[in-house]
């Protein structure tokens, strides 16, 4: 009798644990709710945006450096 009760308790605990895990898998929380939607395309978007913002940073920085070189050149050639 005690063994049967112990077995039933164990089965009950396992079922609760599995249901909790299943519930957790079916309902993504927080940021996963957004990122795992739409065939995970938001993940692709974030990857591409990281690359794009990196390239943009490079473009703006190159622009700034060229402006500085041009300014120095203009001053040098004017004073020469």
């Amino acid at each position: 009798m005690q063994t049967a009760l112990d077995t039933l308790s164990a089965v009950r605990d396992t079922a609760i644990a599995l249901l909790d895990a299943d519930a957790a898998q079916q309902a993504p929380q927080g940021i996963e709710r957004v990122m795992l939607a739409s065939d995970k395309l938001p993940v692709v978007l974030v990857v591409v945006l990281i690359i794009w913002f990196g390239l943009l940073f490079l473009l703006f920085r190159t622009d700034w450096r060229i402006s500085r070189i041009e300014k120095e050149l203009n001053e040098t050639e004017t004073s020469a």
Partner: protein, 245 residues
Amino acid sequence: MTSTDRDNLMLPPRGIGYRVFTIIVAVWMTTVVCFGILGHISNLPILEHTARNLYFHVPMWFTLMIGWFVTAYHSLRLLVTRRRIHDVRAEQAALIATVFGVLGLTTGIVWARFTWYTGTNIWWNGDPRQVMVAVQLLICGAYFVLRSALDDERQRARLAAVYALFATVTMPFLMYVLPRRMESLHPGAEGNPAFSQMDIAPEMRWVFYASAIGFLMLFRWIYTLRVRMRAAEIRVSELRAANWP
């Protein structure tokens, strides 16, 4: 370098209009990327989500062609005016346009491998449009080979300008006319209009147009930077030569 050449290479400083333009390009292309990846697309068999490559792969070809038209324009101006800045502009436009062309070919190979050639190990099947584009890029590459073969600056500029004009003339035939006349898996073959299966969703068409314009603006920005950089390089080298004992 004569004082005229020096004046030609002393480009006017970039004003507020240019700054606004760069910010517009940044915001425009970010928006295109967001809509391109998350926007609604037609449900196409085989292509599935790769249909989104339409927004990124096809504008590469527009940029290649327009870039080489810019090269041709400055090549013609060089032959007429003999001003060095036109050689700088022609070379940089050709360089960036060719880079876009190589990116277009590479992205096209990847796209085809996992759509037309799924289940095979084929990356290249001699598709007419792919072959024509590869030939076109070889013609574009020969421009740089020609430039590197000549030491005299003025001769290099003039010969490269003449070659660039011929290279640009081949472009509409190899990239547009001939592929449309031949059997191909590529959209637009055998006389049919391109994208006939892809623009069922109107929102795809608008994102595509925005992307094409965005990549052309991006070309313009990179081209401006490269021209300024190259002009500054030449001015620095001439200053160094003048100060050399």
